[in-house]
């Protein structure tokens, strides 16, 4: 089948402003939108820029807006886009560097500020620290995060408030707050107990809806809020 694409193009250094370019490409129904992008780039227009690597939803490189929804181009199949035209745009919220490539540094910076590593009480045992399967289960959903930024890009709060830490950073905070091996839970909770921390979330559920790894993001954020109420009040 023939697929029609309308793709956002912009080089901030040389273009007066963003514009769209149209492409037509043959594709099989089971193929990925990423396969179409690659065909466009390799056969029609090598000037198009986007990120990609693993092509099966593990590396998190190819997050973009596809017909208005932030998702991974490698997880979107052609057969699900029975529409006259597929519109590809860069992830919102972050500055565009070129075409579908955005600046990921602000996104990673927000997470780095939260100390996304285990802060454990000093002495390490010779073997592993013990953790029960029930304790480990609390991390099972959030460790699926691949840092694709689809959630933060989709959050209506992030659209209007660039101070809000955003759902992805809260997922990473959750991963350590609820790790039984971590010793800094109170400090982690205090850091999030502010208007642009966990309380910035307004339960729009857009993050949960778009997460390509099906992480219940909003639920996880609400667990942080409950933990703040329980431990800090």
């Amino acid at each position: 089948m023939k697929m029609q694409f309308k793709i956002f193009r912009f080089d901030p250094q040389t273009d007066k402003g963003p514009y769209f370019r149209h492409y037509s490409v043959a594709a099989e129904p089971e193929e990925r939108i990423l396969d179409c992008l690659n065909r466009i780039k390799w056969e029609q227009d090598g000037t198009l820029s986007y990120r990609m690597s693993c092509a099966h939803g593990v590396c998190g490189s190819d997050g973009m807006k596809i017909n208005g929804t932030c998702r991974l181009a490698c997880q979107a199949l052609v057969k699900d886009y029975q529409c006259p035209e597929v519109v590809l745009e860069p992830l919102p919220v972050f500055p565009v560097l070129k075409d579908l490539v955005v600046d990921m540094e602000p996104f990673l910076e927000q997470i780095k500020l939260l100390q996304p590593y285990l802060l454990a009480p000093a002495a390490e045992p010779e073997a592993e620290r013990k953790q029960t399967p029930e304790e480990r289960k609390k991390l099972g959903e959030v460790i699926r995060c691949i840092l694709c930024a689809c959630c933060t890009s989709s959050c209506p709060v992030n659209w209007v408030n660039d101070k809000y830490i955003g759902p992805a950073a809260l997922v990473w905070a959750h991963r350590f707050i609820f790790d039984s091996r971590d010793g800094e839970q109170p400090a982690r909770l205090r850091r999030l107990d502010q208007p642009d921390g966990a309380w910035g979330c307004e339960n729009h559920f857009e993050c949960t809806r778009v997460c390509p790894k099906e992480i219940p993001v909003t639920k996880s954020i609400n667990q942080i809020k409950q933990e703040i109420e329980k431990k800090l009040r």
């Binding site: 089971e30 390799w42 000037t47 099966h56 593990v58 560097l97 996304p116 590593y117 285990l118 691949i146």
Partner: protein, 573 residues
């Protein structure tokens, strides 16, 4: 710009990150990576990391070492296998201490599961040795080590691609890298370069590898005159998603899944009566193709089925959720109810840049090359011999990444201070200029697809002289055509059009190297199956292949295998 560091590590997968963490604080270390570190391909590893912890049942590192040697069809250097197996428990505990969220047993210890070729008591029966976090073990270790490098303040240059090594009088003095965001060429002056650039499965049409795996590390080392070792040994993982090559972890069989042919028969019972579907990858991939050739593929076609229906939806959700989601997304099927069509997919390169256990790259005389190190998939110890066991790769990365880090620190003071050549970026700058100025020519994508198909047709699981020779001729024709590649994108920012054109040279060069090494080895061992030379021939071929660039043509020579504890025997599983 010119950047100065003591140590520059190329590649931010697990080997590069682990080496950096070892060296930080003792030297000025920087990491460069062609992708953001967390996009590295170590993150695609699913099933686990091997260590004889004995949490589930009795296990010993000697059994692990034996399995590694036997799995490698006795081409494994046994001193390296001993270090790997003996150090594994420490390495896994270290990861746990850093925060890796391993799955747990009821008593709170790390959970372990069965995996291909892992056995108890020297081959008696399968053993549970694979430590794991569901089916995203590589990803959670990658995240953990990456945030640890952030915590330690290690300098990272993301989306910087190495394009050349800087050498003077045999010593490596840094590298030239291209910054994707700006198109600038930068010179990194360093006393040590560690190559941790991973594999290059993208030379094959069907591959589990990511687009970034194009082998620059291997190819630049080869161009620098360093021989490459055992390059004919290419692992095809038995269970790639049909048509796509996406990996379905061996953990699926470790948890109880089985392979069935078109007649509904569990055919691995015939090929490996003791451990059946948990035989090593080389044997299962070969068995799948035997079944297909005998007309017992599903519907007479070129795939078989992986049956996970026996596991039940709960176990699939808890232990194999990523692969459950892959087959749902890409095939529209539910593994709790439906059979999964699978075919072998290019997964791992056993060969690579020869190193000793300390990561020092070795020249043709087995002497360390001053200033050059390698670790991870791009290095060849030779730890995995002719066929790597599942879960030994993640282990290799953290065990030998650490040892390379230690040795680099020890070495730093010993290296003579030599001045780098003037304008070392000149050669590559000229190449880029020529590419950008060429108005008309061949398309990178077409040549890349051609070589990927050639390699798949003639140099994958089954090989024979006629096909390999034909492939060699074709590759050389493609190399000629590649000299006239033209690109569309002449701009400086995120010009992946340009980088893909540059990567094509390494893909073609490495394809030639694989084919030449495969043609020379006239026996069948591990993943290298020559239909015209069936069977292993230890008298003539119990040795490592080395291939080196010379002025005239690539030269092939050999070096002995290190055998310490286990004398070669016929492999039965």
């Amino acid at each position: 710009m010119v950047f100065n560091h003591d140590i520059v590590i190329v590649g931010s997968g697990l080997a590069g990150l682990r080496a950096a963490l070892e060296a930080v604080g003792k030297a000025d270390v920087a990491l460069i990576s062609k992708v953001y570190p967390t996009r590295s391909h170590s993150g695609a590893a699913q099933g686990g990391i091997a260590a004889a912890l004995g949490n589930e049942e009795p296990d010993s590192w000697e059994w692990h070492m034996y399995d590694t040697v036997k799995g490698g069809d006795y081409l494994t250097d046994q001193d390296a296998a001993e270090i790997l197996a003996a150090d594994a428990p420490r390495a896994v505990y270290e990861l746990e201490h850093l925060g890796v969220p391993f799955d747990r047993r009821a008593d709170g210890t790390i959970a372990q599961r069965a995996f291909g070729g892992h056995t108890r008591n020297f081959g008696e029966a399968a053993v549970k040795r694979a430590c794991h976090a569901a089916d995203r073990t590589g990803r959670v270790i990658l995240d953990t080590l990456y945030w640890e490098t952030v915590r330690k303040g290690i300098t990272v240059y993301p989306e910087f691609q190495m394009l050349d090594l800087i050498r003077q009088d045999g010593q490596v003095l840094g590298l030239v890298a291209y910054e994707l965001a700006t198109g600038e060429l930068h010179v990194f002056r360093s006393r040590i370069v560690l190559l941790a650039t991973g594999g290059f499965g993208k030379v094959f049409k069907t591959s589990s590898n990511c687009f970034a795996n194009t082998g620059e590390g291997h190819y630049l080392a080869y161009q620098a005159g360093i021989p490459l070792e055992d390059m004919e040994f290419v692992q095809f993982h038995p269970t790639g998603v049909y048509g796509l090559g996406i990996l379905i972890s061996e953990a699926a069989r470790g948890e109880g899944g089985i392979l069935v042919n078109g007649e509904g028969e569990r055919f691995m019972e015939r090929y490996a009566p003791t451990i059946k579907d948990l035989a090593p990858r080389d044997l299962i991939s070969q068995a799948i193709y035997q079944e297909i050739r005998a007309g017992r593929g599903v519907g007479g076609r070129d795939f078989v089925h992986l049956d996970l229906t026996l596991l039940g939806p709960e176990k699939l959700a808890e232990k194999l959720s990523d692969i459950t989601s892959f087959v749902k997304i890409y095939l529209g099927i539910d593994p709790a109810k439906d059979l999964i069509p699978v075919q072998p997919t290019c997964h791992y390169m056993m060969g690579g840049i020869p190193t000793n256990a300390h990561g020092q790259v070795l020249d043709q005389d087995q002497h360390p090359v001053p200033g050059l190190y390698a670790a991870g998939e791009c290095a060849c110890l030779s730890l995995h011999g002719a066929n790597r066991l599942g879960c030994n790769s993640l282990l290799d990365l953290v065990v030998f990444g650490r040892l390379a880090g230690k040795m680099m620190i020890a070495d730093l003071g010993q290296l003579p201070r030599n001045d780098a050549p003037v304008r070392p970026e000149e050669t590559i700058a000229t190449r880029i200029r020529v590419l950008k100025e060429r108005k008309k020519g061949e398309k990178t994508g077409i040549l890349r697809q051609a070589v990927q198909k050639l390699m798949m047709d003639h140099c994958s699981v089954f090989r024979q002289a006629a096909g390999l020779s034909a492939a060699l001729d074709e590759i050389r024709t493609l190399q000629e055509r590649a000299k006239t590649v033209a690109i569309d994108n002449r701009g400086p920012r995120f010009n992946t059009d340009l980088l893909e054109a540059l990567e094509l040279e390494s893909l073609l060069g490495l394809s030639e190297i694989i084919v030449l090494s495969a043609l020379a080895r006239e026996e069948s061992r591990g993943a290298h199956l020559r239909e015209d030379y069936p069977g292993r021939n230890d008298d003539a071929w119990l040795k490592h292949t080395l291939i080196q660039k010379t002025a005239a043509k690539p030269a092939i020579f050999y070096k002995p295998v290190t055998i310490t504890r286990f004398q070669p025997q016929t492999r039965h599983y």
